[in-house]
Symmetry: C2
Subunit: 313 residues, 2 copies
């Protein structure tokens, strides 16, 4: 391990231990050691954040890249109705990357970690063959048997989403056209807030039968739920929540990286209008027929095919 | 998520479920769900395997790269005296990589996983901006409070290593010079066997006070143990086990990626000559004075500075 890596580990360890609940054993030994709450199961999720694939250093400030890197993992925990405990960060950096960039990346990462009481438990560092490469691992827990899976949707269930759809890809489209943003004005793209409180509320109140986060876009993520649950769905185009003027229906249907929650609930469950200040919107229903249809305001319907999220390719 | 990724996930899921103990929830949902044995703590480790940094596709066959990728994580679990349960693989691949390569990589990965009853629990896939990029996460467990840490070495403890040192970097040096190998003839480089049985034996029999795996090379890894334990050490050059004719003392001292175990034990503990067929060699002692010294067969001594492992840079 070359000395610059040791220095990076030292900086990460120092940064991570500021405000940590239990510094304990973690960065610096071969493995992190984590206690597991009694009666709970473990949740583990991993997500790459790769230069030129998931972000671009000329578009995204380093603290946004750090925030988004962790938000991807936290959003997966939210989608199970779980509580995150620890994050592990594997970070490969080009030799010529300014130290300032790394500090700002970590600042964005750790600010979000602190907000959700997530401890940076360890990770790996390496010199990168190409750009900044990060892999985030988040470990959380959920009471045994209570995780909200993708496979629980039943015909007749209603479909809901949190927040709004398409805002992230709308910003991305403008970045592609060369527009510069003051990042805080576009928080759903630069600093998405993972819906942990909503996910946990839905689990604790036994409201949701299936759940996923909209990381790949509604059309793709709803397809995942339908495939795993062996059902179909009808989505009402007019119901889709897209408040931004520049976020068209196409963005709301296919745009990814919104990190909202998409969930299903039986029709007799009373779903709140909002949870923790995040609006919930009824957008459709689960069907027995295994197709996904988009219904226009005029009543005609067409197949909704997964458009998916092509990142920055 | 572009369709080729879905196809890759399907292939990984299919491969992972062959021979899995509990298919359970894993690949295909937002998070993997893992049960945790009662009275146990969790071990988590992450390690990059990056094209041109940790391996080279023109030197290493894909099944060796898959094997080494997982071995890195398993070796970290061994170094805590733990038992591995699940692995998570984040894999970014260049668009033009032949499917055959991926299949062979997974074959090497899963063969080792099966050997140690490790289940592939999930991961992430992406298109790579440069070469093959893998990040391996291994989750294991250890009875609560029983992990063997780096910080437990005490003055007077004796220092031991498993197996032999320097063989991996000796092979690497030959690869650098253009030599071609039949990989199975150089197993410590191409197919290193993580010392899980030895690590667990040492923990169960309460023999070791501190332990680390020799992934960065003896001089660097012993330094980690001494730093964390706030002690020094004397290493006997003549005692170092390097059986290969071409593995010089320098390779044994500084070569990395041997994935042997380096541990300390009180002088009154009887350490077996071998465990599970792996020889254990007494190579030195822990000292109160916080320096690391190398003692020559003639009795003179000199400081042993961390040489470290520079990978393929």
């Amino acid at each position: 391990m070359p000395l610059p890596e040791l220095e990076l580990i030292r900086r990460i360890r120092r940064a991570a231990n500021q405000g940590a609940r239990n510094p304990g054993v973690g960065i610096g030994d071969d493995c992190a050691i984590l206690p597991v709450p009694r009666g709970h199961e473990l949740l583990v999720t991993t997500d790459f954040s790769l230069d030129g694939v998931h972000f671009r250093r000329d578009w995204h400030p380093p603290d946004s890249i750090g925030h988004r890197c962790l938000a991807r993992g936290l959003s997966d925990i939210a989608a199970m109705g779980g509580t995150p405990h620890s994050a592990f960060l594997s970070l490969a950096l080009p030799a010529d990357l300014p130290q300032r960039w790394v500090d700002d990346f970590l600042r964005g990462f750790l600010k979000l970690a602190k907000q959700y009481k997530v401890q940076l438990g360890g990770g790996d560092t390496a010199q990168s063959p190409a750009g900044v490469l990060a892999d985030i691992i988040v470990v959380g827990s959920v009471p045994t048997g209570k995780a909200i899976l993708r496979c629980g949707a039943r015909p007749g269930d209603l479909i809901y989403v949190t927040g709004t759809l398409g805002a992230s890809v709308a910003t991305l489209q403008e970045l592609r056209r060369g527009k510069k943003f003051w990042p805080v004005t576009q928080p759903r793209h630069f600093y998405p807030d993972p819906r942990l409180t909503v996910g946990r509320y839905l689990r604790e109140h036994k409201l949701a039968t299936a759940m996923i986060d909209t990381s790949d876009g509604l059309s793709t993520d709803l397809r995942h739920v339908c495939d795993e649950s062996r059902v179909g769905a009808t989505v009402e185009a007019a119901a889709l929540p897209h408040t931004q003027a520049d976020a068209s229906l196409q963005f709301a249907l296919h745009g990814g990286e919104d990190y909202e929650l998409l969930f299903t609930a039986p029709p007799d469950k009373r779903i709140p209008k909002s949870i923790d200040g995040v609006p919930l919107t009824h957008i459709g229903a689960i069907t027995r027929a295994r197709q996904i249809k988009l219904k226009s305001p005029e009543g005609s319907s067409q197949p909704l095919l997964p458009g998916g999220w092509q990142h920055f390719a």
